[in-house]
């Protein structure tokens, strides 16, 4: 099985998204909700900016010593009776999980929310092996019913409206009375809770992701509001944690620093409802909890990123603040990005994981407004990293011919300042003359891409450089 993505068709995806009224209605909830909530939570904690520095420093320190912290982590998990499995590729990780499920004779698997599971397309692998995966996070459950991918890394069904969810529930929950009232979101939640409760109790294996791994104690941490991750990992006989290698932090103190910025950045909560620290399987005397505890550590290109200019991306803690504040995400939603990780973090991460030849369109989908960097809890310079990808794309001749020749033409003038000034002055003068009286152009030769959706303003006054020179003279 190979990764499924539509990232190369970003433009077509975006076009469709912009003309999808239901999607546009649902996307309104991103901008109206997340931004104000994060702002309020950050404002309430005077140490928030200092904590962002702290979180950045912890991640940088861990990444610089990742081999040693991984060794320490592995030793602690083993000492607690758990088992660490190393998966260099997505394929390897799925195979490890499938093999464990087969060995214990698992028929169904209860899953907490995990982006790594999406990245390795675990559900398809499980189904192929005759094991039934059941997503238990409300959003992920809905996604699974629809055969879709999450469109947001924290709120998977942010692209849907309640009536769409209602019709999915009516289609799938056939054994419930058809005349039941499902219009209120409360009744949708209650129905999912009832259906899933039975599945938790019947599952043979529970799979969760991990928000952090702690080297000091061999602990995996999950952060949820629903409690589904806790039921997934407490009730079944086997607990498998899926995590990528960069989730590590040194100590419980470091984890606490990270947790102080995570929920505030993600949902604007002071802390999520459930933060759960798991270390190994059931202990002697325990009356509940799993009998086996496995951690599958995924690399999938991350160890290579560690040595390059995209290393800073490995600090990401998947809070989704970048996409919540992104005007491009607000306009097209998460599915247009064509793979697992949308928004600015996806535009930087996806080319690293599936190749710039496939995901090169994504770093171009940016206005470079910088809001993502300004809210990132670990201060990843997302716009800078997107620019790096654009350079790579250009170097590897992946940009379209029109872009390449346009940039070459501009480069020719830019390297010759006198010629540049002369040409811009001449061009501006001509446009000003043509546009006199109208103030704007409805169409322009070679600028159809611009004027198809908006007018082009006719220039007034001198060029920027000329105005700048004049201003400096005055001062």
């Amino acid at each position: 099985m190979t990764a499924h993505f539509t990232s190369p068709a970003f433009k077509e995806n975006a076009h469709q998204a912009l003309h999808d009224p239901a999607l546009q209605r649902a996307l309104g909830n991103v901008e109206s909700g997340f931004i104000a909530k994060r702002r309020k939570a950050a404002d309430k904690l005077p140490e928030f900016e200092a904590l962002r520095d702290s979180a950045r420093d912890i991640k940088n320190h861990t990444l610089a010593h990742l081999d040693l912290y991984l060794e320490a982590y592995e030793a602690r998990v083993t000492a607690a009776g758990g088992q660490v499995h190393f998966a260099p590729t997505a394929e390897d990780a799925s195979k490890i999980v499938v093999d464990i499920c087969r060995r214990v004779g698992a028929r169904t698997v209860a899953k907490g929310k995990s982006m790594i599971s999406e990245e390795i397309e675990l559900n398809a692998h499980l189904e192929a092996a005759g094991v039934k995966p059941i997503e238990t996070d409300l959003g992920e459950y809905i996604i699974q019913l629809r055969g879709e991918r999450p469109s947001h890394i924290v709120a998977p069904v942010i692209h849907l409206n309640r009536d769409q969810i209602e019709s999915d529930f009516r289609r799938v929950h056939r054994d419930l009375p058809p005349e039941r009232d499902l219009h209120a979101p409360e009744s949708l939640l209650a129905e999912a809770r009832g259906v899933l409760r039975q599945k938790f109790l019947a599952a043979d294996v529970g799979i969760t992701g991990a928000n952090f791994l702690v080297a000091e104690t061999g602990t995996s941490i999950i952060v949820t509001n629903e409690g589904n991750g806790d039921l997934s990992q407490t009730l079944p006989r086997v607990h498998i944690v899926l995590a990528s290698i960069e989730k590590l932090v040194p100590t419980l103190e470091d984890a606490s620093q990270m947790l102080r910025v995570l929920a505030r950045s993600a949902t604007g909560q002071e802390i999520s409802v459930y933060t759960t620290f798991s270390t190994g399987p059931r202990r002697p005397g325990d009356v509940d909890g799993p009998e086996e505890y496995h951690v599958v550590l995924l690399d999938n290109g991350r160890s290579a990123m560690l040595g390059g200019e995209f290393r800073e991306m490995l600090r990401c803690i998947r809070c989704a603040a970048c996409m919540n504040h992104c005007p491009v995400y607000h306009a097209v939603g998460g599915h247009a990005y064509g793979w697992v990780y949308p928004g600015p973090m996806g535009s930087v991460l996806s080319p690293s994981l599936i190749g710039v030849d496939k995901a090169g369109q994504l770093p171009n989908a940016s206005t470079f407004c910088g809001r993502c960097e300004s809210v990132c809890p670990v201060r990843i310079p997302l716009p800078k990293l997107m620019r790096h990808w654009r350079e790579r794309e250009f170097e590897r001749h992946l940009s379209p011919a029109t872009v390449r020749s346009g940039l070459k033409l501009w480069g020719f003038f830019a390297r010759r300042p006198r010629l540049y000034r002369l040409a811009t002055r001449a061009g501006m003068g001509a446009l000003a003359l043509l546009g006199r009286g109208k103030g704007r152009f409805r169409t322009l030769p070679f600028a159809g891409g611009w004027t198809a959706t908006r007018d082009f303003a006719a220039p007034e006054g001198g060029t920027f450089q000329a105005q700048w020179a004049a201003r400096k003279e005055r001062a």
Binding site: A72, F86, R197, D230, S303
Partner: protein, 300 residues
Amino acid sequence: MTPREQIFANIRRSLGSTSAERPRRMIVEERLAQRPAGVLPARATEKSARQRIALFVEMAEASAATVATVPAAEHAPAAIAEFLRAHNLAPRLRRGTDPRLGNLPWERTALEIATGRSFGDDAAGVSAAFGAVAETGTLVLVSGEDNPTTLNFLPDNHIVVLDVSDVAATYEDVWDRVRDRFGAGAMPRTVNWITGPSRSADIEQILLMGAHGPRRLHIVLIDPEAAATEPVEDSAAAPAGSTPAEPRVGSTLAADPKKPGEEKPADPEQKPDPEDEDEELDESLDESFPASDPPSQTQP
């Protein structure tokens, strides 16, 4: 090469290291041994013991938990019975074998008590907290026969008995206590931080309570000095079984030992309107901790 060796080799190639370098190893060993604390929120660290309790209650209530304060452990069963009655629930519950719960005078109530883990048939579960964190109103529970983890998640109503002496300022304070109890580098199978009842905002970003875990979280706080900070018993604005937050808003936030000069004196006559409680709290927080405040500590 095994998959494990392959990943380690890749990491070391990227970092330009051999893993044998003494200085790198020493840096890591030192960090794991010394565990620097980083930035701690002054809202919790700069409080007196009494203010810390009030902050805990305030934050727990802000997370939609309810809090009942009793002056001694022996009153906890009655408070729990009252909570069940107030919510029209059968007088039945399940608890672990924790002696702090086992020693309570349950016989003084008409409650039907079962012990052990839950299989999902219980309407109410009762746990004893290992600790709590004032900065966010968070309960800390540890797994084991004493307090089975299933009781935290399966019953619709989770009731947690908490001793006031176990309320710490920060998460870090609780980690110190975990190390004292379980040994450095070791952890119980599960540590649960719980802040409020289960919820989901997945559908249209509308916040709905009671997703998969408990619909209600009720804290029974054993606080012998409670009367000192809670003079008024006015339950008009508060949910049933909850202690009123109103007088505490002032008492928690008015006195800040670090900046006496900047602080407006607390006016005992001026009580916040219960309708505007949240807003008042936000404003008080803003006033007490202006954005220009230097952080108490920075990460090395």
